[in-house]
Symmetry: C2
Subunit: 234 residues, 2 copies
């Protein structure tokens, strides 16, 4: 059955967050006359991501938007590296908003443009409505609406996030396809009854990536990139 809507993981699947964050961080340090290992900083910042969300997924903390978690996680990395006082509060707020300016993979926008006449397209990301709206505008990703964590007030891979995204479109899960480069994301979506498409992004975590290099489940589609996905969905 042809999916009426395609909903997308964003960080990794549609945009190259690691290189983009590394660039933003390197520029912010350079303005202070300082060197930094940008990719290592990006990895350290991202390493705080799952633990921060897990406190909310597990119910230990009430839901807050990812923008707030990114800010808290940035402070944690800066404090750990002894640079919390290097930047003034406004500069730290600006740096936390680096997640609104991430570079799409080369096939992302052309692929979305091909898919858009045939399907409703929306992010189903852990990013907030504000973050996804600004990122989509920056990266020129042509979505029809913004779905994901904020309308569920929870974080993937908790099932309510996938279910709330289908509900918001008034579609059955089987009418919706989750597109992601993370097998765990697809497994959670499949458990909710959604169709699934795996797209490998072997450079998401840099040259030494070991995870998610190949499909690890019985996904509806495996495609080399978004153009191949458009080919396969016809």
């Amino acid at each position: 059955m042809k999916p009426q809507a395609l909903i997308f993981d964003v960080f990794g699947t549609l945009v190259d967050w690691r290189s983009s964050i590394a660039t933003h961080v390197t520029a912010a340090y350079a303005e202070k006359g300082l060197d930094v290992d940008g990719p290592a900083f990006a990895d350290a910042w991202r390493a705080e991501y799952q633990p921060a969300m897990q406190r909310i997924r597990s119910g230990k903390r009430a839901w807050v938007p990812l923008d707030d978690l990114h800010m808290e996680n940035l402070m944690a990395v800066l404090e750990r590296t002894g640079h919390a006082a290097t930047f003034c509060p406004d500069e730290i707020i600006d740096l936390a908003r680096a997640w609104e300016e991430l570079t799409p993979w080369p096939d992302t926008c052309p692929g979305l443009m091909r898919l858009r006449p045939h399907h409703i397209l929306a992010p189903c990301s852990n990013g907030s409505i504000a973050l996804m709206t600004r990122l989509a505008k920056y990266a020129r990703m042509p979505f029809d609406c913004i779905l994901g964590a904020e309308i569920a007030h929870d974080y993937k891979p908790n099932p309510v996030v996938y279910q709330a995204s289908c509900d918001a479109l008034r579609l059955e899960p089987a009418e919706v396809m989750m597109v992601a480069c993370h097998n765990s994301d697809l497994a959670a979506a499949q458990d909710c009854g959604l169709q699934t498409a795996f797209i490998p992004r072997p450079a998401e975590h840099g040259p030494d990536q070991t995870m998610d290099l190949a499909p690890e489940g019985d996904w509806t589609v495996t495609a080399t990139d978004l153009n191949d996905l458009a080919d396969q969905l016809g």
Copy 2:
């Protein structure tokens, strides 16, 4: 202060619901070999709109999406005119979805395209995410995200709808401009601290319209149409 986001009333302000609904209804009756006064049917259907929402705004009924109210209101009109049995359930569902296919005013899409590079654009309508997503796709209205009633689980002009739309963008109300052809909508938005833009749509209710022909408040901007709004906002 230049608004960072423009949020729009949709039914009336951006699309000509009355002519579009009249056309859909006339076509549905014609398929049964029946005549109908399309504009009068559209007016009768729309007359149920405010009372249906008022039951939710007043707390007498839990929030349900506008799609469900449109369906209930359509059934009420069909029953009152003796035509409830003329259509089978699938045909009635199809007819209720006429609200997903409404024609934009001639200036709507060109105006939105001019505004989009400079502002975040989103509907702040009483329509659901599903309805606004499909209508925007049909009418090719280039929104950046879908805000409005569904993220607030209430209906305009209750203040929480305007506040929730600003909150979702992480903007202060003063950074957001509500654009509408209804003075009452703008009054409610202004009470929440938003900037306001009035655009008259003197044909919204057909040739005999008497309401909302002119601005009736101290709005931030009054514009003749969306192109004029783009001119005035620079």
